[in-house]
């Protein structure tokens, strides 16, 4: 662009720092790197280097405190895929994810729709359902431990109230409990993982509910009226025609974030079973395995291998989410 020396009027209207305007660019350039520098260095040191280290160590038998280590190839990974205890780890993690994600998404959606349709008290329910999201999970785990205590726990005490009533006839579980004793929720390998799942759902669905509520308020009200005029008589028809499609992007996000959080379950497992990951390792989830193998037992190679696997899962999920969002952008 030629820059002839035109008097004032012309000059004022040109935007001052354009790329052709050399001085600001140089200033920008230096300033920009100074401004991003610290973030960049920290990103590399705290996020990328550790990933690389984990990647490398997963092929070794390194342990903290020893001076040397051996390259052992993919032996760690082979162990992961052959040993029974790691199979239990995958089973526990997948059971947890596959249970908690659909349930907490569905409950979040259900609660959001119910609350959205209510004029009064909606805010109260919203507040209460959000409380577990705010609360320190470790503290709440301990509270749950008391709730589930086999003898003095509130749950079994409540169940006992049902003994001798009609309920006992229609609900075999209750009858069994009354005749013998109620389950030792946290000590029984049949129940342990489901208890963890339940707490996961309990803790997480309020978060999803809030996201869905935000999604619902942004649905244009006239769309519902249009659906009604178009002959969508039942609530289900209107849900299919208007609500569900409008919540598509929210759902993609909610599912991914719930998934990633579900993969990271740790606090409850550690609080209930500080050693060993539950009865018969039935709740031996990946984060706990990393903690136990890598930190407590100093088997860093195997811990790193689990870390790498874990990262792969999480990255894969996020990439799927991004792809879905991208596809949905053009309505």
């Amino acid at each position: 662009m030629p820059a002839p020396d035109v008097p004032s009027a012309g000059k004022a209207s040109t935007p001052p720092p354009t790329p052709t305007n050399s001085a600001p660019v140089i200033r920008d350039y230096r300033a920009a790197w100074t401004l991003t520098g610290p973030a960049l260095i920290l990103m590399v040191l705290i996020l990328l280097v550790p990933v690389a280290i984990a990647g490398l160590l997963s092929f070794t038998d390194y342990s903290l405190g020893s001076d040397s280590f051996n390259w052992i190839g993919s032996a760690n990974y082979e162990k992961l895929f052959t040993r029974a205890s790691y199979e239990k780890m995958f089973v526990a993690t997948l059971t947890y994810v596959v249970t908690v994600v659909p349930l907490s998404v569905a409950l979040g959606l259900g609660a959001a729709i119910l609350i959205h349709s209510l004029g009064r008290f909606g805010a109260l329910y919203k507040t209460i359902y959000f409380l577990p999201v705010m609360a320190t999970l470790l503290a709440m785990s301990i509270a749950w431990e008391f709730m589930l205590h086999p003898t003095i726990g509130m749950l079994n005490r409540t169940l006992e109230l049902g003994c001798g009533t009609l309920l006992e006839r229609v609900w075999p579980f209750l009858a069994n409990g009354c005749a013998d004793r109620f389950p030792v929720w946290l000590g029984d390998k049949r129940y342990a993982i489901w208890v963890i799942c339940f707490i996961g759902v309990w803790q997480g669905f309020g978060f999803n509910m809030v996201l869905y509520l935000a999604g619902l308020t942004s649905v244009h009200r006239e769309l519902y009226h249009a659906a009604e005029m178009d002959g969508a008589r039942s609530a289900w028809d209107r849900f299919r025609l208007v609500t569900w499609p409008a919540l598509g992007p929210t759902t993609v996000f909610v599912v991914t974030i719930t998934c990633i959080r579900a993969f990271q379950v740790f606090d409850t497992v550690e609080a209930f079973w500080p050693q060993g990951g539950g009865p018969n390792k039935s709740t031996y989830v990946m984060m706990f395995a990393i903690f136990e193998k890598g930190v407590q037992q100093n088997l860093i190679g195997i811990g790193s291998a689990i870390t790498m696997l874990f990262l792969t899962f999480v990255m894969f999920l996020t990439l799927i989410q991004r792809w879905l969002v991208e596809r949905k952008v053009h309505y």
Partner: protein, 320 residues
């Protein structure tokens, strides 16, 4: 209301399940061990005076005490004096369960210290995150420079890495540097919030260029612009991010559990609670629940006071 009764029914049932552990936690923190054991006393317990056995046994009179007290009880046998002293100790050690539970929570373990640790760690994490993220976000949003796309690509890539997932290599690095069991270990991995950078960048993109150009015309340098122009405009977004960050780190248990072992002075609140659980016998349920209540309460109260902001902050990650 009448037509919606079934909705309320469902929501109230859900509410009971959601509230139950909170109810139990607070209720137990009010009750005596006996009441907890037998499940009596409603929500507040009966608050009958109870005797703290440990306190009594600590005050158990030995010979010296008896000798010292003999003047107060002239002409009595040694045994009688002992009984009287024990009775005195008992009355001195008796208190309402709620007082017992909460004093125990603070005296048995340095809970106050834990709380202060928690505050120090969460606040410094947030401050460092902001100091690192704001300039970077500004540069990525508003400055044109060679490599900007690459840096932003790196940010997007790093968003894929949850810090918890790479806890093990981070732990190894810190251990090698001899930094485990320090405050630094609690803070360092969180100093960079890629999410914060991303978020603030998205926010800064909406700030008009004219504002920045005007600041440049006024003679401000880029640093001055970040702190004197961008920061004030970003306060709402930053506040939301602050809530997001503080809630996450106050409640975090996994990372402190890894890098702090043994050194009680560094314990964050969840670690303190965990320790309580470790050595608790039956009689400590009350104090333990009092500790849990104390740890959970600050955020819950803040949440109840500024609900909208909190929900905004916590669901911030939804704004992507």
């Amino acid at each position: 209301m009448t037509r919606d009764w079934w909705k309320h029914l469902i929501l109230i049932l859900g509410m009971i399940v959601v509230i139950a552990p909170f109810y139990l936690m607070v209720s137990y923190s009010f009750k005596s061990p006996g009441e907890i054991e037998r499940g009596e006393g409603g929500f507040f317990g009966r608050q009958e005076l109870m005797v703290d056995e440990r306190c009594v046994s600590l005050r158990a009179p030995d010979r010296k005490d008896i000798a010292a007290a003999s003047q107060r009880f002239p002409g009595q046998t040694e045994n009688a004096i002992r009984t009287a002293l024990i009775a005195e100790a008992k009355s001195a050690c008796s208190m309402r369960p709620v007082v017992f539970n909460y004093t125990k929570a603070f005296s048995e373990a340095p809970l106050l210290r834990y709380l202060l640790n928690g505050i120090a760690v969460t606040v410094s994490i947030f401050l460092i995150q902001a100091v690192v993220a704001l300039p970077a976000a500004y540069a990525l949003a508003k400055l044109k420079f060679w490599g900007r796309e690459a840096v932003f690509g790196l940010v997007l890539f790093c968003l894929l890495i949850p810090v918890h997932a790479i806890a093990l290599p981070l732990y190894i690095i810190l251990a090698k540097l001899g930094l485990t069991n320090t405050y630094a270990a609690l803070v360092v991995p969180w100093t960079i919030s890629v999410f914060g950078i991303f978020l603030m960048r998205q926010f800064f993109m909406t700030v008009p260029d004219d504002l920045i150009d005007a600041a440049r015309m006024d003679g401000m340098g880029e640093f001055a612009i970040v702190w004197r122009v961008m920061l004030p405009t970003a306060i709402p977004a930053l506040l939301a991010f602050a809530i997001f960050s503080i809630v996450a780190h106050w409640n975090d248990y996994f990372w402190p559990r890894i890098v702090v072992t043994g050194n009680r002075d560094l314990f964050t609140p969840p670690l303190g609670l965990r320790e309580f659980k470790g050595d608790g016998d039956g009689s400590y349920f009350g104090p333990m629940m009092a500790t849990a209540t104390v740890i959970v309460t600050p955020l819950i109260v803040a949440f109840l006071l500024a609900q909208k902001r909190f929900i905004e902050g916590i669901t911030l990650s939804g704004m992507k």
